[in-house]
Symmetry: D2
Subunit: 270 residues, 4 copies
């Protein structure tokens, strides 16, 4: 989650780095490519002074059926693995954050349902590929447990070389909902996610690289109202804004991401 | 759906009669009771001049766990059946409108999952109670069929004496979401429901009494923004606003309504 | 459902034509092809004397991941449409029989979830392809209504040129479960399906061609026990036998069938 | 899982202690009560010589709607907690074993969905009751991780005083499916559960009391066939036998068990 300063003396919140800061004003190393209906913005933060040190890749598109999205996600995911010295035989733990009972927050758990796992085949001598495991840790409101505690507990037993974490994100912009995929090696920050998962997952806290893949699926109603009125309005209940066809979006996006992740993990052609 | 006139030259929409008109200004016969943490507003419209002729009962509450809600729903549902000359042995078709893949719109289908049906036991000589059947007709985006066509087709085969229709509604007020149950014998009007189901279900169109039970679970983002800015803003995407804990609300509300409907249909004590 | 005579004076039941009769002894016109790991048996029944008049295509395979299954299903489905004089612009109603709350019986409803529908776009002038609609009629135990009544009611409103019906079937053989796809233009017969859906859907009863696609997912425990003991054993409860990994099978098979049906309906390349 | 010796030189398997051994022949301390349509068998094993040391309570009933089941489960669960010196303010971790994508194996995860959790309220100072958390660890085929490793990892972070583990079990008897609830303080044994979860959860392995609640929902087809033929038959595929109405049974049983567990954890009256 990034705290966004605006001119009203109050703040908006976003899980998208591109929304959180003005990358031009902040002297970050930035590259923007436009091709095949995609806009791909790569931002490199060399220290933690503006945003957390690491690489942020934001893929923007108008149409979820654009066939170039998959190839771009696969390409950028490979870049992030290479940047972090992750090899083809390093073991992976894939984590689907979110609540599968609430459509806008169900992206992570749905992706996990389609990830091919192999770790249990190791001891049987049946696995000739990368060791992969995957969990849906649930949400704190359902488990009573901080999600990062579940993840830390599992990491200590499974001992993966790296994590890939998938989550539904909050955006400050209605226009961006379901039109953006953000990939980063900086992990997941406290306050991120649809229901403020208060979770910190990064190389610093966990000791292994954490690749995060996020898709904005909701806005906070307070952020939207502040954005149009330019002033803070009190007594707004805790609500989320989400596209009418969120069931369709979540289905297509979870299919897309699971195909991409399986392809990168196992070298499948798509 | 009711078109709400306001002072900005533009209109807000609501499925709740109480929001749609100023009942005092319109000379409607109105009764308001406050008891046990509930506010129950009964409005009687004697002709179609202001709102559709019939009875509208709105039960408002702060807390979904208020134990008096069930008794009130059962009581008012019985009143509506009696008003419409529906007898204890008249056959019922219960219809759960909405999309069970989208949490805020899944109230109707979830209620149907808990309705006790008996119609199939008739021909086996096993049924000693009211004849009840139940369907989830799905949504047009998934079936390609106007929902009212599916319902009309089933009515022609099943020939029920009356319908009870359950739907998730749109409100114009965030504060009202999940805090209101509306019961009416005027049926369902074109444009109602979370995704504008464009469905007209009433005694006039179907020939049998149609008791509708609705719970507001979403607001239209356009309505909310117009409400706070007092002006129309263009280029707002089609979005809905819904409580963060909508999965919890839908679960509790569908349990509550199915218990009430089964109790009224079969005379169960709760 | 086919009644299978055996030598014990009692009968086994199967929804698979290949299991129901000895095609050689019955003088049926039969063709068997073996290629690419598939065995495809085509049986032509010229009158109703042995089995219902029409074509039966049975595709058998060892491995659900065999990449040739899709092409074969598409090819045979096209043959059945052509045999029945169904043209590229004839409107289709796709029906997913079964119970989506019970994994072994959820094949039909899951396929429907992935069928592309267009009928609702017609009146908006947005459709340039075949008119397609799709329903999940539910099961009688949940609706209280005979499934064929729901289907007839919908057909009268939608007026499709033909039906495609998908169902999970009963086999008499454990070895065949999830290893066979049966396609036929003879429809669905009373007693078919996982929970004996007592449904008769055919050109004779409905007036339009009915293409049925079935996959055996369960056996009846009584049939299995009679098969191994060669005698009838009383007091066996109503039980089904199904593969341990039935969730995996249903997921893969519903993906496969929906891809094939969409391809045939719209001419998509796969 | 208990290995059952029979006279054929081969063995049947069961997760039910009552089926596994002849309690009379084995000199176990046994008490049988019959009342209100229930048969309650309590077996006390004083050492590990015959079956694992501890208490086994088996509640048998004909009708899942028997209203006395709930009171009996609550009563026996309280006895097991007291036997194990578990106090009213000891913290609990509730674990729902099984696969929520496969109806017969979804009992555990469904129970978890209705358990009231409080642990996350502790740090907010909002909890005045017992500290309770709950997880659905998933199945190894989906996670790639041994379920006991996930559980151990979570226990190390959450540090509960005791576990309650819910699982769908295998029986050797068709008649017993969905008609029995087994409660024990001996935990879960390797090989138990619908899909042989190869999990060992007990006070010995985890260091805290493990109360297990199991309901038989499936039989192994091999066990059934051996039972009727009295001989071993080769080449029987891996299949399960389950009631036709398993969706109904799982729904009712998960409601029943979650009500009982919440009642015992929090002292709710039912």
């Amino acid at each position: 989650m990034y705290i966004v300063n605006n001119n009203i003396g109050d703040r908006m919140i976003s899980d998208l780095m591109l929304e959180a800061i003005n990358i031009k004003d902040n002297g970050l190393v930035t590259n923007v490519k436009r091709k095949n209906g995609l806009k791909v913005t790569t931002v490199l933060s060399c220290d933690d002074s503006v945003v957390k040190k690491g690489k942020y890749i934001t893929i923007e598109f108008k149409d979820i059926f654009n066939k170039y999205i998959k190839n771009e996600v696969i390409k950028e995911l490979k870049v992030l693995l290479k940047d972090n010295n992750i090899n083809d035989d390093d073991s992976a733990l894939i984590i689907g954050l979110g609540n599968d009972d609430s459509t806008p927050d169900s992206l992570g758990p749905l992706v996990i349902g389609n990830i091919i796992v192999t770790r249990h085949l190791e001891s049987l001598g049946l696995n000739s590929s990368r060791v992969v495991s995957a969990i849906k840790p649930g949400v704190t409101g359902e488990t009573g447990i901080e999600t990062k505690d579940i993840i830390k507990g599992v990491i200590e037993k499974v001992k993966p070389a790296f994590l890939i974490v998938i989550d539904a994100l909050k955006s400050e912009s209605l226009q961006r909902l379901s039109k953006t995929i953000q990939l980063t090696d900086t992990g997941i920050h406290p306050g991120s996610g649809v229901n403020n998962k208060r979770i910190g997952l990064s190389k610093e806290t966990l000791g292994i690289p954490v690749i995060a893949i996020g898709v904005p699926t909701v806005c906070d109603i307070k952020t939207i109202i502040k954005g149009v009125t330019k002033k803070k309005i009190n007594n707004i209940p805790e609500m989320i804004v989400t596209p009418k066809n969120i069931d369709f979006i979540i289905e297509k996006m979870s299919d897309l991401l699971s195909v991409c992740i399986n392809s990168v993990l196992y070298g499948f052609k798509i």
